[in-house]
Symmetry: C3
């Protein structure tokens, strides 16, 4: 996996563009994704930098299944989010980028050789037929919702005008509970047809994971993603939550104008809710971003954001 | 009660219109409601269709008190929401429909012969004097807030311009805790003066009930309301929560534009919060709607929505 | 402390104005604040007026540290919010009032002789350099985030155009957990440059405190703030939450138009979220305001609002 890191450090936006086959109303965004077993460490450096508490691997490491991006035909594994600041690893799954008017073709393969559970992908925010819903309901759902080990499914989605924004995707198969608890989730990021792409795009997924509260599968400053930007850059935060708890997203030293026109610096996000925030960066420094639910902060839901002068 | 079902299958909208006495600025919406004992079954078919888990009646049935709609003078019981898709039964209470500019006259009678507790009705979103508040505060509140067994109270409310939308009502008497836990809640639905009425209106109340998480008092697909519509219809979802927990409302395969202009498909709703969502239906299929708090889904807060071709 | 109460009953707005040194783009709002030990009683009258339950001081009194406003140079203690209806005492800290374009200079001194913990002030919604962030991160933060007993720090903040509204401040030092649990929080209230000041401004902080759910550090009707206004007055509610729980703010007999144009009377507020609500009062009576999370109401998060005729 480490060797691959250097090979596949291609731009996520570039990769999406390369995969696009132009059509009348937009591009086709084709992705190859598999459910793959991995051994995940929530706290790679073994400590909470703020309190000094240490954790051993018996507390922080567990076997799980995650979404992983691949090249065409699932030939070669890719890092999920190679160019983004922060965690370039396997949780969350690949950031699925498009513009309104585009279509997504998502090829999914169940390679869960560890647990041999069924898996699926269920997408928020986009248009699709029931056969691309990916949600298990006996008597109604089909192969999209219950992809067995070794099998594949292709999900066909359309980014409508009302799909602009950021959205969750996640397992909604019979193994949903265990799979989401283990990190099987990711985001779609859909820009308007002619909207400026951000210079920096940060994916923040709040989710409980065992005894910890994680951001992108990691707990505590020094383990959670370190996001970076330069003064003058257009930065975008893609925020969502998964699991069973409500959170409040906060960034120090910054504010944004909510869609209703109100200045904010803290925003509730419940399970499967999602929002994006943008600003033109002008505040150099090392800033905290975190869930402001105090118990969640203390259980690891906090990270740092570094802004340097241009 | 079963015999009455066939007799009273009148249109809720029609009933409200029939009761209206025109006044200068709007109609008078008169309702007759009683608190009545019943035996409630949260899981009538005894099973969770998704996991296959079965539940016996010792787990799902309990004696309780609910709001029930009546004809004038509490002469004959009516089904609470006869024409709506889904649960036409006793939880939630009757959907109290009006337009801005209308006045409500709600005649309430405590027929709680089972527990002989005091009861009341407290309404959100509307204008009223303290004597129609229905909330118990010793030293301040009056007969509106503490209607004893066998007694009555008439609540007088006005739907102002700032009452447009959907709102909760619920018991706020000294028995509030037990009564809300037992299902004593319902909704007001107030259209703008000249606003189009929806073709289909679905009432979704999220509330914990014992060990289960319920929608309109029912748990698990097959027990919760089955909402239905046809392509081309204007559908409206009236969503609220009661109790002590925050939820996130999600419908599969659909999105809506929030009042702030943002596309959404998942929305937090906390206790006594409420919102309505509308769309012109265009996606045939069987779709899930549910609370996206995972533990709540697993405890029953999930149902199906069937859209057929016109 | 009681003797001081009569001496310092000056207008909070007047005090802020008196302290202002005019500058090109706005005023300088200078405040002197200290962390001071106190003995706090969450339920001074020893009872829940609604249920009649009584509580003894062993359950409701505890030693803690709070923010207290002082005159220049920390010479004389002031009441935190002398002219506001309700709790004029030490929780929350002083309401830090300004207008967009103003600068704040907040002089903070750690006088925590009881616990000798480090303390700090971290402010939401305003612009500042990392040296005024007040949030402890080993290896990054400085003296602003870890003010030792007997030491001082001056925080320099700017109220930008995007700072309009109400915002939390709180301890973010290494003692953050204990300090917030003990009441070390308060609010900033920032009006637009030419915006009308309200006639009445009510500060509502929802926070768990031991076994109770408090408003401004107090539990149950008769202990929580009693807010008052007259018909015709412009009233403003400044609402925030601290701690680890989500709440829903509700006022009886009133509604407001949310910034997205939607009428509301109940609004979710999670930890460190904040919003302000305004209306021109027109409904005389004694009304309840409370968190609508039922368990929180039952644990004390409820108070009364008295409106008299002009």
């Amino acid at each position: 996996m480490r060797r691959l890191a250097t090979i596949v450090a291609i731009c996520a936006w570039g990769a999406a563009a390369a995969a696009a086959a132009p059509v009348a109303s937009g591009a086709v965004r084709e992705y190859w994704v598999a459910a793959v077993p991995t051994t995940w460490n929530m706290i790679p450096n073994g400590r909470d930098a703020i309190t000094g508490t240490t954790y051993d691997t018996a507390q922080s490491v567990f076997p799980t299944v995650v979404y992983r991006r691949y090249t065409r035909g699932w030939k070669h594994p890719l890092f999920n989010n190679p160019t983004q600041g922060g965690n370039q690893d396997l949780i969350p799954g690949p950031l699925l980028q498009a513009r309104t008017g585009d279509r997504y073709v998502i090829h999914f393969k169940n390679r869960d050789s560890a647990f041999r559970r069924p898996h699926s992908m269920h997408f928020h925010g986009v248009h699709y037929k029931p056969s691309s819903d990916g949600a298990y309901v006996p008597g109604f759902s089909g192969g999209d919702a219950d992809v067995k080990y070794g099998k594949t499914w292709t999900y066909r989605l359309t980014a409508g005008r009302d799909s602009r924004g950021v959205w969750p995707y996640h397992d909604h198969s019979p193994s949903m509970d265990d799979s989401i608890a283990g990190g099987m989730y990711g985001m779609l990021s859909i820009l308007g047809r002619h909207e400026a792409a951000p210079d920096r795009e940060f994916v923040v997924v709040f989710a409980e994971m065992g005894a910890f509260q994680t951001i992108d599968g990691r707990a505590f400053v020094g383990n959670t993603p370190v996001f970076t930007s330069k003064v003058g850059q257009l930065v975008q935060w893609d925020v969502m939550a998964m699991g069973s708890e409500h959170h409040t997203f906060h960034v120090h030293g910054h504010r944004w104008i909510a869609p209703d026109g109100t200045p904010r610096d803290t925003q509730t996000v419940g399970p499967a809710e999602s929002f994006r925030i943008r600003w033109r960066e002008e505040d150099p420094g090392t800033w905290l971003y975190h869930c402001h639910v105090e118990q969640h902060m203390m259980q690891g839901m906090i990270g740092t954001y570094h802004v340097t002068r241009a």
